[in-house]
Amino acid sequence: MKKASKKIILLGHFGVGKSSLIRQFVENTFTSDYKVTIGVHILKKEVEISADETISLIIWDLEGYDDIKKTRASYLLGTHGFIYVFDVTRPATFENLENDITYLTNQYANTPLKVVGNKADLVTKTYLKENKNMFAVTPDFFTSAKTGDKVDDMFIALAKELVN
C-alpha cells in the first residue's frame, strides 16, 4: 500500500534555523555554520504517527524572507501544513509575527500551522516564561535545532494534525 504523503512548508526570516530544524529531524545532525538557503530544498521523512499508521512528510525548506508575502506563490501549491519559525534571540525575526500569522490563517484557513520559537538553547526557560509577552502570538513550541529539544515533538504533532 502506498503511504500517504503530506507536504509541509517551513517559513520565517532568514537565519532562524529552518534548515537546521529539518536536518535535525531528518538526519539527527546539527552544524552551527550558517548556510543561506536559496529557493527551496525538499526532504522527505517517514513518520510513524501511531502503531499502524505511517505517513511521508515532504518537507519544503524555503529561503527565508523578512516579508512572508514575498514567498513565491507556486511553492505553496498543495501545502498541507505550515511551520512558522522565528529566532527567540533576535527580535527582528518576530517583530511581524502577528501580521504574518494573521496573513497565513486568512489565506490558508484550513491548513494546520505551528508557530515555533527556535534557538531556545541560547536562553533560559525562565527567560522565555518571563518574557512570553514579547511574542505577539504564543508559540506552539520552543525548539532547539542544536540540542534537538522539542524538534521531533513539533514535527510529529503537526503530522498527527494532518492525518486527523
Binding site: S5, K7, F14, G15, V36, G39, H41, I42, S56, L77
Partner: protein
Amino acid sequence: MILETYRGTYFHPRTQFITIDKSGNVLESDDVLFSLKEGEDINSVSPFFEGLSTYFDVDEDNDIKFTCVHLEAIDQKEYTCDIEFKTFAANQPTLIMIHDFSDHYKYYQEVAQSRNESVINSQILELKNKYLKEKEDFKNTFIANFSHELRNPLTGVTAFCSVLEKTDMSLEQQDYVEVIKSSADHLKNMIGDILEISKIEVGKLALNEELFNFHELIEMLEFTYSVKAKQKNLEFEVNFDEKIPRYIEGDKTRIKQIFENLIENALKFTQSGKVTFAIHANQSRARKVNVNIRVTDTGIGIPTEKLDSVFNSFTQLNKSSKFAGTGLGLSIVKGLVELMEGKISVESEEGAGSTFKINMNLKYPINQEQTSLDKKSEMEKKNFLSKEKYSVLLAEDSELAQMAVLKILAQEGNFFLDIITNGEDVIESVIHNEYDLILMDIRMPGTHGDELTKMIRSLPVHNCKTIPILALTANLYDADKKRYKKMGMTDIIEKPFDESTLLKKIYKHLK
C-alpha cells in the same frame, strides 16, 4: 560551418524534457540531467514531485513554474533548477521541463550569504549593545539608590556626632566621638567616590565653572599637605609657577579634587623621602594657559606590567590592607581630567617612585587686576538677620533626620521648628502658617518633595512664591538637581549633612 563546430564543442543542452502519465510514471525522457527509465516513478528524481501528484492527472491547459529548486541526481550531484510543469487538455501527457541554472544560482547564493550574514551580525551587535547598556544602566541606578540608602543613616551619624561633641564629655568619650566622626567621614568619602565614578561613567557629571583664586587654592593645598606629610615624616614640596594667572575660571571643587587625590595617593604609598607637587605654565593664548602638573613621589612605585591598569575603576594594585581605599581615586581623577579636556599619564619605577603628569588648559579672565571675589561668608550673614526668631518648616519622614535638624536649630536659638512627616499635610500647613523657610525632604511618603514645592509655588497665599525651599536629598545626579530647580526649589542640602553645612545654607537664604 565553423559556428556549427563551435556549437558542437561548447553547447551543452541544460534542459531535460520528461513526459509522464497520470500516475506520475515516466513515458519519455531525454536524460540530459537525470537518467530515467520508461515506467519509472517521477518521484524517484526528487520528493519535489510528490507534493505535486494532484496535478498529474489534470486535463486542462496549465503551466506551473517553480524557480530555484534543489534536486539531487543518483550520483549525488546537485542541481539548482527551474522546473516547468505543463498539463494539456485533450488527454495529452504532462510535460516536465527541468532547466539547470546551477551556475547562476551558485552566484546568487554567495550574494545572499554575505548579505544575510551582515544583516544578522549587525542585529546581534545591536542587541549586544542594548544588553550592555541595560546592564550599565542597572548598575548605575543600583549604585545611585544604594548610596542614597546609605547616606540617610549616615546623616544621622554625622549630625549627632556634631551635637554630641557639644555636650559635656570626658576626654575618653571625646576620643570615641572623634573615632566615630572620622569613620563616618571615611564612609561618606567612599560612598561619594562610588557615586562619582558611576556619574562619570554615564557622562552625567557636569562641570560647574566659577571664577576662583587659583593661587590661594595652591597655598591651601601646600599648607594642608605639609602638615599631613610631617605627620608621616615626609617632605612635601610645592613648585609653583607664579606666571600662572591668579584668577581662573573653572570647576574649583573638581580641580581641587584632582590635586587632592593625586597628592593623597602619593603620600599614601610613600614611606620615606618626599612628595613634590609641581605646576608649570607653558604657552598662553586666547585666555587659556596650558599647564603641566606633576605629582612625584619616592614611594613603592608601580610594576611596569601594571602601569596600564592604574586608571581603571576598582583596580587597586596593592591588595594589602595597609593601603585602604576603594581603588576609585585614580579613575575619578582620569575621568575628571578628561572631562576638562586634559590628559593624564604616569611614569613609575618599582621601588623608586611614581610621577603622575597632567597636561591641561586653564581658562582665565583677561583683566586680572580688576577681578575680585565676593567672599562674604554665609555664616557672617548670621549677624545681619532682621528678625529675632524665624519660623521654619521641616518636611521629613526620617526620624533621625528630624532629630538632627531639631537639635542643630535648637542650639542656635533663632528658630521655631514645625515638623511634618507626610507629603499631604505639608500644603495644609503652608496655607495656615507663614514660614520663613522650608526644609523639604525629597523622598517622602505621599507626594515627593519636588512635587510639593511646585504646588507650594502655585499657592496664592502669603509668601509662597518667594519663600526659600531647600531640598534635603541624597539624589545628587545633575538631572535631579535640575529637576529640583525647575520645580521651584531654592537650593539643595546634600545628605548626609553636618551642622555647619545645614546652618550655612539656612542663613544664606534667610532675609
